[in-house]
C-alpha cells in the first residue's frame, strides 16, 4: 500500500515566520505535488516535481518555494508566512505515467494557521 506522510497534521505559526512542510512517500514515485485546499476553491496546485532536483510552478506559486533533494521527500517552504496562507496543504505523489496519468496518492494534509 502506498503511503504518503506529512510532517504535521496541525501547525500554528506567526506572520513573518519561515515555515517548512514536509512530505514523504514510500513508493519510489517520480512525481510529487503540493496543493492547497480552501473552501469553495477546491484544490489548487502550488508546485510539482517530476523527479529529484526538478521543480516546476503550478497555478499559485507566489509566496512559496519547494525543495526535492531526495526522491522520497518533497518540502514546501513559506519564506515569510502571511495570514492569507492559512489553509489546508495536501501533498501527493504518483508514478510517472504512460499514456494515461497514474493515480495520485495523497497525504492526510497539514492544516496551517498563520496568526
Amino acid at each position: 500500500d502506498v503511503k504518503v506522510t506529512q510532517s504535521s497534521r496541525y501547525l500554528v505559526k506567526r506572520t513573518g515566520e519561515k515555515v517548512f512542510l514536509e512530505c514523504v512517500q514510500d513508493m519510489d514515485h517520480e512525481n510529487m505535488f503540493w496543493y492547497r485546499q480552501d473552501p469553495g476553491l477546491g484544490l489548487r496546485l502550488i508546485y510539482f516535481s517530476y523527479d529529484v532536483k526538478m521543480k516546476e510552478k503550478g497555478d499559485i506559486p507566489e509566496g512559496y518555494s519547494v525543495s526535492r533533494e531526495k526522491k522520497e521527500r518533497f518540502s514546501l517552504i513559506l519564506e515569510s508566512a502571511s495570514t492569507n496562507q492559512t489553509s489546508m496543504y495536501l501533498c501527493a505523489s504518483r508514478e510517472a505515467g504512460g499514456a494515461a496519468p497514474d493515480t495520485q496518492y495523497f497525504g492526510p494534509g497539514t492544516r496551517l494557521t498563520v496568526l
Binding site: 504518503v4 512525481n31 505535488f33 496543493y35 469553495g40 476553491l41 477546491g42 484544490l43 489548487r44 496546485l45 510539482f48 517530476y50 516546476e56 510552478k57 503550478g58 497555478d59 495536501l90 501527493a92 510517472a96 505515467g97 504512460g98 499514456a99 494515461a100 496519468p101 493515480t103 495520485q104 496518492y105 495523497f106 497525504g107 492526510p108 494534509g109
Partner: protein, 111 residues
Amino acid sequence: LAKTTQPISMDSYEGQEVNITCSHNNIATNDYITWYQQFPSQGPRFIIQGYKTKVTNEVASLFIPADRKSSTLSLPRVSLSDTAVYYCLVDTNTGFQKLVFGTGTRLLVSP
C-alpha cells in the same frame, strides 16, 4: 487551462443512484478525466478514470460523451458512507501546470 465546473452540493437517500456531472469545455486531446473522493480530515482518494465512452469499476461508473466536454460520475445504490466531497480532475501526463481540480461536490446521503 481546462477549467472544470461541478455542482456545489447534492443530497440523496440510501439505496438511490447518484449522478454527478462535471463540465470541462477546454479539455485537450491528451487529457483524461479522473474522479476523487474525500472524507473529512483525509486526503482525496482515487475513484475512477476515463478517456471516453464508459468506464466501470467496483465502486462507480464514469460516462464521457463523444465530445468529452463533460463527464458524469455515477454511484449506484449509495450508502451513508458515501457522504463525502467528490472532485473531478482533468489530468494529463504532459504539463502538470494544467492539472485542474474542480471545486468539488459535497454529497450528503441520508437514511
